[in-house]
């Protein structure tokens, strides 16, 4: 029981980290970036390939994975979002173009086998692999009858530190003020001399770096790296998290992440794994019907 709750907190941290990136883009660009889950997956895949195919130490590989994720965020911005913004296309168009990018990312990985053009990135096709145990530091501790793996403890610490520092940056720094100004009103921000396009690119890079890191942590802690970890494990759950917390709200996404982890754990303990798999979508659906602005989203103008 206590072990289940502990696991809920670990998985909740991953949800939260993933959803913070999701919600950052939605809050600032007013766009739902459905390629975020593909970047999550690529963060894990790139780190795995650096460790296994290119024989780098784990921490170098993880740094590479995070950096590559940030670059992928810029790819999303320049390929899928900026052209549409220049045409002043409706919100929904950006949703569709990011779906296109996600399709491309996932299927490139899924089709990569030894000898294919992307074999330097991935060689296991649609299969799931795990990080080799001797290459990733992951000690196991036993405290008061609970099993603690250092990777999971690290997840908790990293997520909380990152989310706190993100909160600090957003609130007290010049960049954070610019980000919030653009979120509030891009046109007014531009008139005030903020380079809005740069802020958008920065947002995508930051959000994708967080998403990629969440993917790496997921891959290490759950011993599961595959082309589908983004799409099947966190894409819709991440949506549920940001809807629970309120779309665009960073504290909402953090609390929503932990809330979803707990809800799933409770559903699993009470009703078993079949219900656990569906409870996120049920929560998502009910929340949108009952309180579409979420727990923390007071800022819903005429979107509804």
């Amino acid at each position: 029981m206590a072990q289940q709750l502990l696991n809920a907190i670990f998985i909740g941290s991953i949800y939260a980290l993933f959803a913070v990136g999701y919600t950052l883009v939605f809050g600032i660009l007013d766009v739902l970036n459905l390629a975020h889950s593909a970047v999550f997956m690529l963060g894990a895949v790139i780190t795995y390939s650096l460790v296994v195919i290119h024989a780098q130490p784990f921490f170098v590989a993880a740094a590479g994975g995070i950096l590559a994720s940030a670059v992928l965020g810029l790819v999303v911005e320049y390929a899928a979002l900026r052209p549409l913004r220049r045409r002043q296309a409706p919100q929904i168009s950006a949703l569709i173009s990011t779906i296109g990018l996600a399709l491309i990312f996932v299927s490139i990985v899924e089709q990569s086998k030894p000898g294919s053009p992307f074999a330097w990135l991935w060689r296991d096709g649609a299969n799931s692999v795990r990080f080799p145990a001797d290459r990733v530091p992951n000690a196991t501790y036993h405290v008061a009858g609970l099993t603690l793996e250092s990777s999971k403890v690290a997840i908790l610490v990293i997520s909380i530190l990152l989310m706190l520092s993100l909160g600090y940056v957003m609130r007290y720094t010049q960049v954070g003020r610019a980000l919030r100004a653009v979120a509030e009103n891009p046109r007014a921000a531009r008139l005030l001399g903020i380079q809005v396009d740069r802020i958008f690119a920065l947002t995508l890079a930051l959000s994708s770096a967080l998403g990629g890191l969440a993917g790496i942590l997921f891959g290490v802690a759950l011993s599961d790296v595959s082309p589908y970890i983004g799409r099947d494990q966190v894409e819709l759950k991440g949506l549920a998290v940001i809807v629970l917390g309120g779309m665009g709200s960073i504290p909402g996404a953090v609390l929503g992440g932990y809330a979803l982890g707990l809800i799933e754990a409770i559903a699993f303990i009470r009703f078993g794994s079949n219900v656990e798999a569906g409870v996120a979508f049920l929560a998502l659906f009910l929340m949108l019907v009952v309180r579409p602005q979420g727990l923390f989203g007071a800022r819903l103008r005429e979107r509804l």
């Binding site: 739902l32 045409r87 569709i96 779906i99 089709q111 809807v243 079949n274 979508f281 049920l282």
Partner: protein, 308 residues
């Protein structure tokens, strides 16, 4: 290339050797029409695949446990999907834009994980075997249904109802100030979409020996949206064309069949960036004007799906 050579030189042989592909094109066209109806009224809903599952499961469960004729089973499946559309539409259609898309996506997954995987009668995760399936005999009914549905939707889009949908799509506030009952017409579009999707599900279950719950997930919902976006939503032929192009693509370019999702993704992005009105929409390319390009030479504003 052989694909097209055979299509024109030997249409009968082409039909015989590609019957399953043609059936799949028919099913996908029906699904694309079902999402077209809601897009035409300015709403992006992604619940169609859920309604499709209702149609498919109803049809197969009836043919396993009752001795009713197949046509009745399929019709009942479609009607049940439509009825569920009313129930789901009541709360959901108050939402707009991205929120509506997310809620309907959540509905589809909640249906799949919450209901289908937990009811004993649906075979849960194992899916259902359908011993009465008739892969080849199902082709003609699918094409007949497609023709019928396409004709009806074509007429519907030109009717008063269709005009109301177009008005809501262009400007919801203006439409309601003209006395159009916006919630009612939105609901009508949602339910018509659900009916068509349920019909497609029932028809598809008849050409497969197996109903698999993983078939009715988000991936498919997004695929259906892709058909409509690529084809264009200015009239009912757009979604049919989109479904036809994208479904036959892996057959046409056999060498690249492995990378078909890459191709789909590239097509989707190119279409939404350069031709947001779809292949069949009117007008030219929505070029993104470089700074040195004279403004009057470009067409900038073009119709997009769910231009809400």
């Amino acid at each position: 290339m052989d694909f097209f050579i055979q299509l024109f030189s030997d249409p009968v042989g082409f039909y015989q050797s590609h019957e399953l592909l043609i059936a799949q094109i028919g099913i996908n066209s029906l699904l694309a029409i079902s999402i077209f109806v809601t897009l035409f009224s300015g709403q992006l809903t992604l619940a169609n695949v859920g309604f499709m599952a209702v149609g498919a499961y109803t049809t197969v469960i009836l043919s396993l446990h009752a001795s009713t004729p197949l046509a009745f089973n399929i019709a009942l499946g479609a009607l049940l999907a439509g009825a569920l559309g009313v129930v789901v539409g009541l709360p959901v259609l108050r939402l707009r834009g991205v929120f509506l898309a997310i809620a309907t996506l959540g509905f589809g997954e909640a249906l799949r994980f919450g209901v289908i995987l937990n009811l004993p009668i649906t075979g849960q995760g194992q899916g259902l075997k359908n011993p009465d399936a008739d892969p080849l005999g199902g082709v003609v009914p699918i094409l007949v249904a497609l023709a019928l549905v396409a004709y009806l939707v074509w007429r519907l889009a030109g009717s008063k109802l269709g005009q109301a949908w177009a008005a809501i799509r262009e400007d919801e506030l203006a439409a309601s100030s003209q006395g159009i009952n916006v919630p009612l017409y939105k609901m009508a579009a949602f339910v018509v979409g659900a009916l068509i999707a349920g019909l497609a599900g029932g028809l598809e279950s008849h050409i497969n020996f197996f109903v698999d719950p993983t078939e009715y997930g988000t991936t498919r919902a997004i695929q259906v949206l892709t058909f409509a976006v690529v084809g264009g939503i200015s009239n009912v032929l757009g979604p049919i064309l989109g479904a036809t192009i994208l479904t036959s693509l892996p057959e046409v370019v056999r060498q690249a069949a492995d990378y078909r999702d890459v191709i789909n993704g590239v097509i989707l992005i190119l279409i939404i960036v350069f031709r947001p009105q779809g292949v069949l929409g009117g007008g030219g390319l929505a070029l993104i004007r470089p700074r040195w390009w004279p403004r009057q030479w470009t067409l900038t504003r073009a119709r997009t799906p769910a231009d809400a």
